[in-house]
Symmetry: C2
Subunit: 189 residues, 2 copies
């Protein structure tokens, strides 16, 4: 059982999650243990990027605990629907992947019920769920070394920009004659 | 010239950006004014979601200044390459869109040089750029009311999950017989 998540006590981390994510969601708490495990398995001092395989909860643990955010481009979210993240060397693209491992959940059935959606939110024993998350810590996680395929490493330079002749806003010229919004992806009526 | 960004002084906001984003990037500073303008143009007390039309910088301003994050699902990033965001009522999907407006940049040529990539980073007059961002505040922004098309409003419920028969990890069964990673989207060698 890990008593610290990065430089935070578990209770400090809960408060950090509450202030950013709105409430201490089980997924972000478990995500804290995942990030901690991943970072501890990288060579010391390595500059890393992050890949998150789900949009749900986990990106916020990464953003709170590492230098990687959506806006600075060091975190990529690839929505594969798997509760997994990898941290990898910016230059060699080698690193570690950590995932929440259902096969290790034997002693923590309320976590399993939550993770596999075996109970509705009303049926959930919330107190037990939170207790199990803290007890389990990193014991329900698995880790393996990975190397990213080049096509999944985020492109850092966007190239030239211009004003879209249709909407008049700035856009990357590599997107085409008009911006992607004016090509039909505009989300508004 | 706005002296506050939400509840923060400009200098407090710069420090907040530094701690989260790594450095006070021009785009996140301008993004602060954008979020502030959008929030002030929503009906008071409305529960809103956010849509960000670029992956670069702007999502971090939204995550720092609103309850909307990637991980809690209240922020959607739609990478259209436009420096624009919208905040909209969770239920009616009506709200406001704010964008950085090149047509209003006449008095702030160093912002224009940065935004339209007319200078390399080496040629940039960084001190002037930061001064202009603060001077301009909300004066280089434009705003209009919007209503989101239903297909761009984020789906909140993922439905059933199961263990992928190939990799053994949990995934949304609506993705198919095996998880998206095992369908060929796995990012690792």
């Amino acid at each position: 059982m890990t008593s610290k998540i990065m430089s935070y006590s578990y209770d400090e981390y809960i408060e950090l999650v509450r202030s950013f994510h709105g409430f201490p969601a089980p997924g972000v708490l478990i995500g804290g243990f995942m990030v901690d495990l991943a970072v501890k398995n990288l060579p010391e001092g390595v500059l890393y990027d992050a890949l998150c395989e789900t949009k749900t909860c986990l990106p916020d643990a990464i953003q709170l605990l590492t230098p990687c955010t959506i806006g600075n481009g060091w975190l990529t979210v690839l929505p594969l629907g798997r509760y997994a993240l990898s941290l990898y060397d910016k230059y060699t693209h080698e690193g570690v992947r950590v995932y929440l491992d259902e096969a290790k959940m034997g002693p923590w059935q309320e976590v399993r019920n939550w993770f596999m959606k075996l109970k509705t939110k009303q049926e959930q024993d919330t107190e037990r769920l939170y207790r199990e998350i803290q007890e389990a810590g990193q014991d329900m996680l698995s880790l393996r070394p990975v190397k990213l395929k080049p096509e999944f490493v985020q492109e850092k330079h966007k190239g030239k920009v211009a004003l879209c002749p249709k909407c008049g806003e700035s856009y990357p010229v590599s997107d085409g004659e008009v911006c992607l919004g004016c090509q039909g992806s505009d989300p508004y009526f």
